[in-house]
C-alpha cells in the first residue's frame, strides 16, 4: 500500500512549523514568568485537582464554548461545531486510520488524507454494519457538523444580529486571509473525499459517497484528476492556515489552553506587565463581543479603542496613546469577554508606561495626629462635592451611637486612584502612604468610605490591617445588628450599580438588601454585572465632555424606563454625574437610609417640574 503522495507536503510543512512555533511560544511565556509565578506554576501542575480543573475548563470553554452558548445558542453552536468538530475529526480520524495501519506509529498526515489512500468498496449488505462503515458514517457526520457551523459563520458575516452581536471586529488583512483559509479547509476536504469516493465507487460515508456519485456524474473530465486537485488544495489551505496561526487571531486557540492552566495555578496579571499579560493578549480571539458591551461605542459613537483593538495593538507591539487612554475602565467588556481576559489590567499597563514619566510632589502634606476612634470614616473627594451624603452618614453614625472619626472632614487627601487611572502609580504611592499613616494612627478597626473609587483602591493597594467597608455594606450591618431602626418610605426606586462597587468590588446584594427594607425596588434593563457606567468615570480624560454626557444620557434613559420616583446609587460620582441630566431625583443610598430613620428625615423631596423657590 502506498502511503505517500507529494500533496501531503504543504500540510506536513505547515504542521511542523506550527508545532515548533507553539512550542517556542509556550517556552518563552513560561520562561519569562516572574519567579513567584514560576513557583505557583510548578506547584500547580503537580496538583491533580488543579490539572483536572484545567482540563475540565479547557473542555468546556475551548471545545464546547459554554460561555458563548449562554450568550447566544447560535454563536455557541457555530464555535462548538468548529472546535469540537475539528477535534473529533482528528481523534476519530486517527482511530479510523489504525484499522488500515499495521503499526502504532502513523505519519501525521496519514489520518488527515486517509480517504485518498483508502477507498475500498463495501459490497456486501452486512458490511454496512462493520467497523469501517461505522467510522465512515461517523467521520461524514462530523464533517457535516463542521460544515453546518461554517454555513452559520458565513451567515454571521452578513447577519451578526442573529448571533446576538450588533457589531463585529474590523479585521486586519492578515486575519481575513487566515479566516479564508479556515473557511476553505472543510469544503476542500468534502470535495476531495467526495470526488475520490465517487471515482472509486467506495470509501465514502453517507455524505461523501452520495455527493461523490452525483459530482462525478455531472462533472466532465477525469474525476480522479479533479479529486487530486482538491487533495492538493485541501493540503495547501491546511498548511497555509497553520502558517498563518502565529501571526493571526487564531493564535488564541493554542494560547487559551495555556492561559487556562496559568489561571488555575493562580497566576495573576502584574502591574507592570509580565508574560502572563502577553499570553492573555494572544488568547484574544478578536470576536468583538467587547465592542457591543462598550458604552463609548453604542452611546457615544467612539470606535477603534475597544478592548479588541487594544489587545491587537499589544500583540503588534504598538498601542496608540489614544487607544490606551480612551476608556472609562468600567469593566463591562471584561465582564462580557468569553475568554475572561483582564482587559482593564492590560490597558492600565500601557497607561503606566505613558504616565510614569510625569512627576508629582505632595511634600506639602503634613501629618498631624487625627485622633482615635473605633471607626474611621473616609468620605473621599467626590463625597465632598455631595455634602448631603456626608451629612447623611454622620446622621447614621450618630443614630447608631458609633464612635467614629470623620478623617477627611477638613478636606481630603485623594485616595490615589484618580492618579492610578492616569497611569501615575508611582505618584499615587505618595498619597497612599500618607493616608495609610493617617488611618493607622487612629487605631480604628474599621474603615468606612462613601466612595466606591476609594473603596476599590483601599482594598487593592493599601494593605491596611483593618476591615474596609463601603457604606452600603456598613449600614446594612448596622441595620442587621438592630443599631438603627428603619421605616420604609415606599418610594419606587431603581438602583444603579456603580462600576467600582459592582464589577470592581463585587458588591451587588448589600445595597439591594438595604433598599428593599426602605423602598420598593423596580427592575431595570442592565443590572449587576451588566450595569451601565454613569459616564462620569475618572478614567476617561481625553474625550470632550460632551461625549461623556452622551453616555450619561443613554444610561439614564435605560435606568429610568420603568419610571421610578428616585434613582438610587451608591457612589457620589454617579450621583453628581446623573444629577446633571436627570429629571428624576438622584439619591445616594446613605441619604435614603438616613431619611428612613424615624425622626431624622431632612431631605426635602424635590419636584423638578415645580419652580424652585428662591430665598431672598
Amino acid at each position: 500500500m502506498i502511503k505517500f503522495n507529494l500533496f501531503v507536503l504543504p500540510f506536513s510543512l505547515g504542521l511542523i512549523y506550527i508545532a515548533w512555533s507553539i512550542a517556542m511560544h509556550y517556552y518563552r511565556w513560561i520562561k519569562a514568568l516572574p519567579a513567584v509565578d514560576k513557583v505557583k506554576l510548578s506547584a500547580g501542575i503537580r496538583n491533580p485537582s488543579k490539572i483536572f480543573a484545567s482540563l475540565k475548563e479547557i473542555f468546556l470553554e475551548s471545545l464546547i464554548h459554554r460561555k458563548l452558548w449562554k450568550r447566544n445558542p447560535m454563536l455557541g453552536y457555530m464555535h462548538m461545531s468548529f472546535a469540537l468538530g475539528w477535534f473529533l475529526l482528528i481523534v476519530i480520524g486517527n482511530l479510523e486510520s489504525r484499522i488500515y495501519h499495521g503499526s502504532h506509529i502513523n505519519a501525521p498526515y496519514y489520518p488527515i488524507f486517509l480517504k485518498f489512500f483508502i477507498h475500498d468498496r463495501l459490497v456486501l449488505f452486512f458490511e454496512i454494519f462493520t467497523v469501517p462503515a461505522f467510522f465512515r458514517f461517523i467521520m461524514d457526520f462530523i464533517l457535516l457538523f463542521i460544515l453546518s457551523g461554517l454555513a452559520l459563520a458565513m451567515i454571521k458575516r452578513k447577519q451578526s444580529k442573529w448571533f446576538g452581536m450588533k457589531q463585529t471586529t474590523n479585521h486586519s488583512l492578515f486575519d481575513r486571509i487566515a479566516l479564508t483559509c479556515l473557511w476553505l479547509i472543510f469544503p476542500m476536504r468534502l470535495l476531495a473525499e467526495s470526488y475520490t469516493a465517487g471515482f472509486f465507487g467506495g470509501g465514502g460515508g453517507f455524505l461523501t459517497q452520495n455527493l461523490g456519485r452525483f459530482l462525478v456524474s455531472v462533472t466532465p473530465g477525469s474525476a480522479e484528476m479533479i479529486a487530486y486537485y482538491f487533495w492538493w488544495s485541501y493540503s495547501l489551505v491546511l498548511g497555509l492556515f497553520f502558517i498563518m496561526i502565529p501571526n493571526s487571531r487564531y493564535m488564541h486557540i493554542p494560547s487559551e489552553l495555556l492561559l487556562i492552566v496559568f489561571r488555575h495555578c493562580s497566576i495573576q496579571p502584574r502591574k507592570w506587565g509580565s508574560s502572563f499579560s502577553s499570553l492573555e493578549a494572544n488568547s484574544c480571539s478578536r470576536c468583538g463581543i467587547c465592542i457591543d458591551a462598550c458604552q463609548l461605542n453604542f452611546a457615544a459613537g467612539i470606535s477603534g479603542i475597544q478592548a479588541v483593538y487594544l489587545i491587537r495593538g499589544q500583540r503588534e507591539q504598538y498601542i496608540p496613546e489614544n487607544v490606551a487612554m480612551t476608556c472609562m475602565l468600567c469593566g463591562r467588556c471584561q465582564e462580557a469577554c468569553p475568554v475572561g481576559i483582564k482587559v482593564d489590567s492590560l490597558r492600565l499597563i500601557k497607561r503606566r508606561e505613558i504616565g510614569s514619566g510625569q512627576v508629582s510632589s505632595f511634600s506639602y502634606l503634613s501629618n498631624s495626629h487625627p485622633g482615635f476612634a473605633d471607626v474611621v470614616y473616609f468620605a473621599g473627594c467626590m463625597s465632598h462635592l455631595t455634602p448631603t451624603i456626608t451629612r447623611a452618614m454622620e446622621g447614621i453614625f450618630t443614630e447608631a451611637g458609633v464612635n467614629y472619626l470623620f478623617i477627611d472632614r477638613g478636606g481630603s487627601v485623594c485616595c490615589g486612584r484618580p492618579l492610578m487611572l492616569a497611569g501615575k502609580d508611582k505618584q499615587a504611592n505618595e498619597l497612599i502612604e500618607f493616608n495609610k499613616t493617617l488611618i493607622r494612627q487612629t487605631r480604628a478597626k474599621l474603615l468606612v468610605t462613601s466612595c466606591p473609587i476609594c473603596y476599590k483602591v483601599f482594598r487593592e493597594e493599601y494593605n491596611l490591617p483593618i476591615r474596609i467597608e463601603h457604606h452600603s455594606q456598613y449600614i446594612l450591618d448596622l441595620v442587621r445588628d438592630g443599631r438603627i431602626a428603619l421605616q420604609s418610605q415606599h418610594r419606587r426606586v431603581v438602583y444603579h450599580d456603580p462600576c467600582d462597587l459592582g464589577r470592581g468590588g463585587n458588591m451587588y446584594e448589600a445595597p439591594r438588601e438595604l433598599l428593599r427594607k426602605i423602598s420598593d425596588i423596580l427592575p431595570s434593563e442592565n443590572e449587576c454585572a451588566d450595569a451601565l457606567c454613569c459616564g462620569g468615570s475618572l478614567s476617561l480624560m481625553n474625550t470632550p465632555l460632551s461625549k461623556k454626557d452622551e453616555v450619561t444620557k443613554n444610561a439614564l434613559e435605560s435606568l429610568l424606563k420603568n419610571g421610578p420616583d428616585i434613582l438610587v446609587t451608591a457612589c457620589p460620582l454617579c450621583k453628581k454625574t446623573f444629577s446633571k441630566h436627570s429629571k428624576t431625583e438622584v439619591c445616594d443610598i446613605a441619604e435614603m437610609v438616613h431619611d428612613a430613620i424615624p425622626g431624622r428625615q431632612t431631605r426635602k423631596t424635590r419636584n423638578v417640574n415645580e419652580p424652585v423657590a428662591v430665598n431672598s
Binding site: S361, H384, L538, P544, L545
Partner: protein, 110 residues
C-alpha cells in the same frame, strides 16, 4: 523687613515680547475646551490640593496663557488629580485632561 503698614505689590507687568506662547498653543491643541474658561475660579475653590497648600489651577492657567511657564512647572506637581475641579466647572472645561496637557507640554518643550 519692618512693617510700614503697607506692602508693595509685586510687579505684574508682562512683556509679551518675552512670553513663551508655545506652551499655551500646545495645551490648547490637546485640550480645546480650555477656551471655554471664564475664569470664575470654581475649580480652585473646590480643589483638594488647595486645602493643604497654595495651589491655584486658575492662576496657573492664566500664567501659562500669558507666556510665563517657569513658575508653573513646580506648581503643577501639586495636583492630586482627583477631578473635583472638572465636576464643578460651569463651562465644561475638561480640567483633568488640561492638567495632563500642561504636564505633557512641559515634558515635550522642556
Amino acid at each position: 523687613m519692618p512693617d510700614f503698614g503697607y506692602t508693595i505689590t509685586k510687579d505684574r507687568q508682562l512683556d509679551h515680547d518675552h512670553g513663551d506662547f508655545r506652551y499655551i498653543s500646545l495645551v490648547r491643541s490637546i485640550e480645546p475646551s480650555l477656551d471655554l474658561c471664564i475664569g470664575c475660579g470654581s475649580c480652585s475653590a473646590s480643589c483638594s490640593a488647595a486645602g493643604f497648600t497654595d495651589f491655584n489651577i486658575r492662576k496657573l492657567h492664566t500664567i501659562i496663557r500669558r507666556g510665563d511657564v517657569e513658575s508653573v512647572k513646580a506648581e503643577l506637581k501639586k495636583c492630586m488629580f482627583c477631578g473635583k475641579c472638572q465636576l464643578v466647572c460651569p463651562r465644561g472645561v475638561n480640567l483633568r485632561n488640561l492638567i495632563m496637557a500642561m504636564n505633557r507640554a512641559i515634558e515635550l518643550l522642556g
